[in-house]
């Protein structure tokens, strides 16, 4: 927990110059094979996506494509900010095999577990 608290501060500083990020809403599932993470980033396509892996930390950044609408805004609920969220990874994840897919503003990350930690059925011989 102590190491965790120490990690928090450099990230804050790093965030300082760009405060206009919003955290995407995510679903995370764990299966026997690994993890699946889905993140909602409307307006972001493949080119606007940056996924960085640093140690056991994965950072997802989604930059919205430029879609300025001319004219006078009558109602504005959408946030123009880019998306960013950081996750601490389970050490069991095989970081070399992480794959990402982007479809209609939803990022799906597949994070397989290393073969050695996968549960294995052992047959007992007589």
């Amino acid at each position: 927990m102590k190491a965790t608290a120490q990690k928090e501060s450099p990230r804050k500083e790093e965030r300082a110059p760009t405060l206009d990020y919003v955290a995407p809403e995510v679903n995370i599932y764990e299966t026997l094979e690994g993890y699946v993470l889905e993140a909602e980033m409307p307006g972001v396509n493949k080119d606007g996506l940056e996924i960085t892996l640093e140690g056991t930390e994965i950072t997802i950044v989604g930059r919205r494509g430029q879609d300025p609408v001319a004219g006078e805004p009558l109602l504005r609920e959408r946030q123009p900010a880019d998306f960013r969220r950081v996750f601490e990874l389970d050490p069991a994840i095989d970081t070399g095999r992480i794959s990402a897919k982007m479809h209609q503003g939803v990022l799906t990350l597949t994070l397989p577990k290393s073969e050695r930690v996968k549960p294995r059925k052992i047959t007992v011989s007589d």
Binding site: M1, T4, A5, K7, E8, R11, V22, A23, E25, V26, N27, I28, Y29, E30, T31, L32, Y35, V36, E38, E40, M41, P42, G43, V44, N45, G65, D67, V69, A70, G71, E72, P73, L74, L75, R76, E77, R78, Q79, R85, V86, F87, E88, L89, D90, A92, H103, Q104, G105, V106, T108
Partner: protein, 145 residues
């Protein structure tokens, strides 16, 4: 240590708090999906000849989106279905909303119903509604003598 927890959650909480402070009231209502269901964020722009509406609908199929116009009101409705089956999975986070939504916008000027166009790209639905000829701003040239 449980994965996906500890400081990730802490910073989420911090961001959530930041979000609450920044958010206007309608934003707040939108954040609490549990109470209100899903209210996708929506922008309305007025141009000289059109109204343009943008709605954030990430992760849908375009077949599941219905756009209809009735007496000057535009309705956008649909259902977001959970694409992946995770019946045998353990859920760590479930922030995304699945289910039905509906949003209705009353347009401030008449539009030509047969010329309305909708496009769904990168999880954003864009509806362009051309104004009727009568509703377009007109320029009247006055000769100065």
């Amino acid at each position: 240590m449980t994965p996906w927890s500890s400081f990730g959650r802490l910073s989420d909480l911090r961001e959530e708090i930041d979000r609450l402070f920044d958010a206007p009231l309608n934003e707040l209502a939108r954040t609490s999906n549990l109470l209100s269901g899903w209210t996708p964020a929506l922008d309305v722009y007025e141009q000289k000849d059109n109204f343009v509406i943008k709605v954030e609908l990430p992760g849908m199929s375009k077949e599941d989106i219905t756009v209809s116009l009735h007496e000057g009101s535009l309705s956008i409705s649909g259902e977001r279905k959970s694409g992946t089956k995770h019946t045998e999975a353990e859920v760590y986070r479930a922030e995304r909303f699945f289910g039905r939504f509906q949003r209705t916008v009353t347009l401030p000027a008449p539009v030509a119903p047969d010329k309305v166009k909708a496009q769904y790209k990168d999880g954003i639905l864009t509806v362009t509604l051309p104004k009727t000829e009568e509703a377009k701003p007109k320029q009247i040239d006055v000769s100065v003598s």
